[in-house]
Subunit: 261 residues, 3 copies
């Protein structure tokens, strides 16, 4: 850090299981990736190439090399997995993962209907090839999954071999964990956490108010995802209480010392 | 493309009259233009230098060279044309187009009141010098033009020599084709299309929900404009059904094969 | 300028006390700073490193050098000052300013409760070391300060040695000068201006509608702050009447000549 400030919350360092940040690359150029890593390389743990953007970008191979050289793993967004599944091209998908030497993959059913045993089967199969992130929650704002079911789905997917599970929110932060207004379904989050270990969940939280909400509920070292590259540094300040939104969350207002939180 | 996926809608390739994408540059640096073209060069057909930004940017000449070298035409936003007209400097405007070797120009009346015969006269005169895009619709949210009049205006401007007509929405996507909430005036669009050929219209649609609406109504190869440089790749995935929003639009949900749409 | 347009409002040039633009850097890379300055260097007068971002960015020293070489002063956001104060580390803060050779600093109480005499004391002390910007207004949307009090606070802070005072709005433009909807508290602004000199105030106005509102009320050469780097060029066109929003503000609709405004 550039200078010394007392009473900051302790932040996990890399490689970390908690306080993990997943960024969303939806079509950066090579120089933009380099710029992003110059500033935020220490704070980002994994990068998702959003939905099917990896199909259309002309710099895919080179971009993956740049991330790899920086020691930051990448994976294709779950919508791409679903695009292969719905076309009965699962084997092709596995070959694509090999072709691009991917070490992570996402299994999701945000757009398609997928029998849950079948979904867990895909997780199991892919887990032999790569580290699997699985995602729970629909991209359809109309589909409300009750909390007990979120929990059952998450547990089954972890049991099937998922390394971590992701709570769906999309790039817009307006479905799944969130109401269409962007407001957090807080009862849902709290109930999930009674059963699924904290470090096993990555919460998609693209909007600042959502990041603040999670940091206030779960602390500096909550796992957050779908963060825009330019928002990684701002998020880091939210985690540390160095932005107005969480300024007093970690700090005793009278003494300026760290609170127990 | 980077890998093979079945049953994707057919996309027109360059040079194309349909499936055309117009991007908005509102003050990019030279490197930012290069980065933009690295990623989206194949998907962008023309670039608008938004409103009067070309007056203030210090890198205009060099930037135009970079676009030219990439084979992507550019034009000054219609507000600049109007700024010259309202000051009785039309001849100066023509000299500016020459000075910068522009091959396209926009004629619009989004901010000024312009007699329509006069507007068509400007189109006719400029069409001898450059390829003309003309724009219909006011930037004033209060001015609602009824559908039959949109059609008459568009037809007269095409007759006067406009290559294509643009449906106004601004950078914010909240006037003209759209209600102030950003919602599409869908009856208006459908009525226009009963009279004006599909490929003759560029719809300004800066917001994702608007792009999705147009792709769902008019297919992968609808002409769209006012797209931010960083949103060209995401738009391309919307066109191809590789983002949640249009995932099943082109695809039969049961078979995973292409639908007729 | 790239070409000649009649009847544009006169813009102050650097170094300027009026028509001043403060930009917000919340974690740019070195190349992004260079790109920003290539395009907007002439239009930006000072750059704020937002809140505590300077603590976490790994390129701080080098970035400050780039700004310095371009003749653009920088300062740390007021939240950082507050983070040192609340921890009783004011002397450390002064040493940080020295270490980074800062020539400007901000004194604010947007997040902390600070006795106003004490705040003025900090302004006075820091004014011996650097040029001080002081900020009035809370980051808490619930705290509404009545206009007479804004005036008293601003006057006292100028008397204590602040070079200019800043009206709080945050990056989101939704507190302080603005209602939570982003709407301007216009009565407040007008009342402040009956007592505090125009050129002594920098209005935070991150959202375009807010910038337009200030330019319409106070002219091309109003001092505005918290502008995103990519919005500096667009703001310059708003100041000059070269964007739809202020197109006729400076211009007589009939003659196309400059209005008295």
């Amino acid at each position: 850090m550039n200078y010394s400030l007392n009473s900051l919350p302790a932040r996990e360092v890399k490689p970390r299981e908690r306080g993990f940040t997943m960024a969303m690359d939806k079509g950066l150029s090579i120089r933009e990736v380099e710029d992003f890593l110059e500033v935020a390389g220490e704070y980002v743990d994994i990068v998702k190439l959003g939905w099917g953007t990896s199909y259309v970008v002309p710099n895919l191979e080179k971009k993956l090399d740049v991330y790899r050289a920086a020691g930051i793993p990448t994976y294709f967004g779950g919508t791409l997995f679903e695009a292969f599944i719905v076309r009965n091209q699962f084997d092709d998908y596995r070959r694509v993962l090999d072709k691009y030497k991917m070490t992570f993959a996402e299994v999701s059913d945000g757009s398609i209907e997928l029998d849950h045993d079948l979904k867990c089967g895909y997780i199991k199969t892919l887990a032999e090839q790569v580290t699997v992130l699985s995602e729970v929650g629909s991209k359809d704002a109309e589909k409300i999954i009750p909390p007990y079911k979120w929990i059952n789905l998450m547990q089954a997917e972890l049991d099937a071999g998922a390394w971590k599970v992701i709570g769906e929110a999309r790039e817009g932060g307006n479905v799944g964990l969130f109401r269409s207004t962007g407001e957090v379904r807080s009862g849902l989050v709290e109930e999930i956490l009674t059963k699924i270990p904290f470090e096993k969940i990555i919460w998609e939280a693209p909007i600042k108010a959502q990041q603040v909400w999670f940091v206030k509920l779960l602390g500096a070292n909550v796992n957050l995802g779908n963060i825009a590259p330019s928002e990684i540094v701002p998020l880091e300040t939210v985690r540390l209480g160095l932005r107005g939104d969480t300024f007093f969350h970690f700090l005793n207002q009278e003494t300026g010392n760290l609170k127990d939180c």
